[in-house]
């Protein structure tokens, strides 16, 4: 049971961390923003509290120190600095670690945390002169108490029946005074004369001014058991403690003598908090928005969504079987029913896939974080612009996309954007720009990462490739082909693998990972001007429009998105070909015979040869199949872990009649062919 709560706590805290990071980013741009500071303080506060409650003692201890820091900040004892923001960023990493690990057991971890806490504490001492460091704490606490106080006007208008059933309103008013400095105004003008007095009825109305650090809810809770018997308003009237100030006293006595209740507006003109109304109103609105948000969306485990998508996929498969049966039986009732089911299942499918889409936004924070940290480390000044962050993608795609994207960004910062001096010397603005852009393009999503850095010199790449023996010294390559060499396994533009982008992953891995999610990467670059890396992705992984073809005794699906054209060739055209290159419409195309790739027996002379022109990595290659059966929209199923090594096949589809067709990964197919050559 408690484990369940713990898990929930961790999950929610992870969300909070996300929020926290966002707030930090914003704070970095606007270091005086009180609202953000408060948000960060609150986040630390709830991590501390929750941590203690759910047995994350080290987390609780750790966040306690951060909470103190931000308590100082919000009370003006400490100024937000870049250092402080950096420290907090790394603290977020530590919190993340603590949430994942729970309490630390390794001596090393415990030591690390100790050191970290000392770093945090250093902030509290460095900024204050050492002589009064000891007294600072208590003094600041006191001041903190005062400055975080806000003032409220409580209007408590009970019904006559209030006093029945044992309620004693005097206690409630007394309880308000326990929250902070308070001043009660009792309006007794409604008490009738003795002759008509109903002695056990309530005739009084109260207004209470209170300056307290407690929340509005805490105040409302005082009246929780009388809420049915009264009208209650609690309004924020000032961001500071105002009870006791002469202006307030004047207002109160005026109200008492006139028997006219005070309104929040009466306090607007006060000198104590000229701007207090604005934030208060905004706060309320925000709360409302949050509440609405809670109702309009809910958290569902990704497991359940996977399950839903699987079930829907199965339904689509079964529905295809049904359609086949209906076609064969020619029963009009069944045919029309089948059509309806087909319509419904298509809608259901679209719906289910829509649910499994999540906005790219969820990962962007990590990117921002990376750009920020790296540019700081390398003394580079970079403007990171994100466009289209609200674009939605299949969650499996997003999961697999993060690492490659991080790597590309690292490259941009590490190798692309120059130091400010270099940029000025090159006639550019000292501040570099990295643009992250995501947008739809047909059934695909395109993500582009471009920078205005120094670009890639094709000559350097070529020399490097020759040096490494990746290409022949006398090879003739155009610029595009040279840039493509970056994706060849084992290529790196720097001899010393930097700490930054050289974390074991090169562009070859990027391309492979993107290919795993049926995406494609291309690179363009202009020396001295910048680099553009473009990633083309399918919208979803689990369904594709495919061309069903036969090779040997098996059926295969080739994704339509990869197909350029289909040709029916005379066998003689192939006979004239040389080195697996065929000439069609006076263009030369390399080609692959799937029979050979799949080690099927040589086919006896066919009358026509079906050649499917497949494009991958901007090249077109012919693929020879036995037969083209037709277009199908199919659900792609994984082959499971035992067939992982089967690179050319990316999955399988179940056809309407229950048979299985294998889905060909065209970019792998072409890639493998290149290697063999």
């Amino acid at each position: 049971m408690i484990d369940k709560f713990r898990a929930k706590f961790v999950e929610e805290s992870m969300d909070n961390l996300h929020d926290l990071e966002e707030a930090l980013f914003l704070l970095e741009k606007d270091m005086e923003n009180k609202e953000l500071i408060e948000r960060i303080f609150r986040a630390m506060h709830s991590l501390k509290g929750g941590g203690a409650m759910f047995g994350f003692n080290h987390l609780s201890d750790f966040t306690h120190h951060l909470e103190t820091i931000f308590d100082w900040v919000r009370n003006g004892k400490l100024k937000v600095s870049t250092d402080l923001i950096s420290l907090t960023f790394s603290a977020i990493d530590q919190i993340n670690f603590l949430l994942k690990t729970g309490d630390l057991s390794k001596e090393e971890d415990i030591q690390n945390q100790k050191v970290f806490i000392q770093r945090i504490q250093a902030f509290l001492t460095v900024t204050n002169s050492p002589s009064d460091a000891a007294s600072v704490n208590t003094a600041s606490d006191q001041e903190a108490g005062e400055s975080e106080e806000k003032s409220y006007l409580i209007s408590f208008i009970p019904q006559k029946e209030l006093l029945q059933n044992g309620t004693n309103p005097l206690y409630l008013l007394d309880d308000i005074h326990a929250l902070g400095d308070a001043l009660s105004i009792a309006y007794t003008h409604k008490v009738p004369s003795l002759e008509v007095l109903d002695a056990s009825a309530n005739y009084c109305i109260w207004q209470v001014l209170v300056s307290t650090a407690e929340s509005i809810n805490e105040i409302k809770d005082v009246f929780i058991f009388v809420e049915d018997e009264c009208e209650l308003h609690v309004d924020l009237i000032a961001e500071t403690a105002i009870v006791g100030q002469p202006e307030v006293k004047a207002l109160v006595s005026k109200a008492l003598s006139s028997n006219i209740l005070l309104t929040p507006d009466d306090f607007k003109k006060g000198q104590w908090a000229p701007k207090s109304q604005q934030p208060a109103v905004r706060d309320e609105k925000k709360k409302v928005a949050v509440k609405e948000h809670k109702i309009s969306s809910m958290r569902v485990s990704s497991h359940k969504i996977d399950e839903l998508v699987t079930l829907v996929s199965e339904l689509v498969t079964i529905q295809a079987q049904l359609s086949l049966y209906a076609e064969n039986n020619e029963d009009p009732t069944i045919v029309s029913l089948t059509e309806n089911i087909q319509k419904l299942s298509r809608q259901l499918r679209e719906n289910a896939f829509d649910i499994s889409l999540i906005p790219l936004q969820s990962e962007l924070m990590r990117f921002q974080r990376l750009v920020r940290d790296l540019s700081k480390d390398q003394n580079k000044d970079i403007d990171f612009i994100i466009e289209g962050g609200d674009l939605e993608l299949d969650k499996n795609i997003i999961e697999n996309l993060t690492d490659p994207l991080l790597h590309i960004l690292r490259n941009s910062i590490d190798h692309g954007i120059e130091l400010p001096d270099e940029r000025i010397a090159a006639g550019k603005a000292p501040k570099g720009t990295i643009l992250f852009k995501a947008f739809h393009s047909g059934a695909n999503v395109i993500i582009e990462i471009s920078d205005d850095g120094k670009g890639i010199d094709p000559e350097v790449i070529l020399q490097k490739a020759i040096h490494k023996g990746l290409v022949e010294a006398d090879v003739q390559l155009d610029k595009k082909e040279i840039l493509d060499l970056l994706f060849v396994s084992g290529f790196s533009t720097r001899d010393v693998v930097s700490d930054v982008s050289g974390r074991g992953v090169g562009m070859d891995v990027v391309r492979r990972k993107i290919a795993n999610i049926r995406g494609e990467v291309t690179i363009e670059s202009e020396k001295g001007k910048g680099t553009l890396i473009s990633i083309r992705l399918p919208l979803t992984l689990s369904i594709i429009d495919g061309l069903l073809v036969a090779v040997g005794s098996n059926q295969y699906v080739i994704p339509i998105s990869a197909i350029d054209k289909i040709y029916a060739l005379e066998p003689s055209q192939l006979k004239q070909s040389f080195n697996n290159v065929v000439v069609i419409d006076s263009e030369q195309y390399p080609y692959i015979d799937l029979r050979k790739v799949f080690q099927e027996e040589e086919k006896e002379s066919a009358e026509v040869i079906q050649m499917i022109m497949v494009k991958a990595e901007d090249k077109i290659t012919g693929v020879i199949v036995d037969n083209v059966i037709g277009e199908y929209q199919t659900v792609v199923k994984p082959l499971g872990k035992y067939l992982k090594k089967q690179e050319i096949i990316s999955g399988a589809s179940i056809m309407g009649d229950g048979t299985i067709a294998m889905v060909i990964d065209t970019s792998r197919l072409l890639h493998n062919r290149k290697l063999k050559k």
Partner: protein
């Protein structure tokens, strides 16, 4: 309830009897008319089948155990095992005949001493002697490792 009770599913491969942990068996299937072959795979990988909309690879246990003269008969079956309880870890194992479910105790398993080569299988969990018959209990972890290799 005693902790050492085990349940085994025994099956026949030619003259030998083997068994697997019954708790890791998902289904027992007749051999479907078509097992879709997957190109460029080892000979023991018979292909994939469609089990309730999921793709399950099927291996021929007889080839893995290096048997000769393999024929499919009316009793040939596929035992679908799921050693890790994950969807993508299910594996169909083609055997000559499924025999019975045996309730026994782990203590009764003896160290397997097999004369001659047993194909690609390196280790067995043990051997149970039941009515003068040797039942070799297959180590599914080892089996899946062989298949992934």
């Amino acid at each position: 309830m005693e902790a050492h009770d085990i349940t085994l599913l025994s099956f026949q491969i030619q003259e030998d009897t083997f068994a697997v942990d019954a708790l890791q068996v998902d289904h027992i299937l007749e051999v479907p008319p078509v097992i879709t072959s997957v190109p460029n795979t080892p000979s023991f990988m018979k292909g994939v089948i469609n089990l309730h909309g999921n793709i399950i690879p099927v291996v021929d246990m007889r080839i893995i155990l290096d048997k000769k003269d393999i024929t499919n008969g009316a009793d040939t079956s596929i035992i679908v095992i799921n050693p890790t309880d994950q969807q993508d870890a299910r594996l169909g194992v083609l055997v000559d005949m499924v025999k019975e479910v045996i309730e026994t105790k782990r203590e009764l398993l003896k160290e397997t001493v097999l004369e001659g080569k047993k194909g690609m299988i390196d280790t067995f969990e043990g051997t149970l002697v039941l009515n003068d018959e040797f039942i070799h209990v297959i180590d599914l972890k080892n089996l899946t490792e062989v298949v992934v290799k």
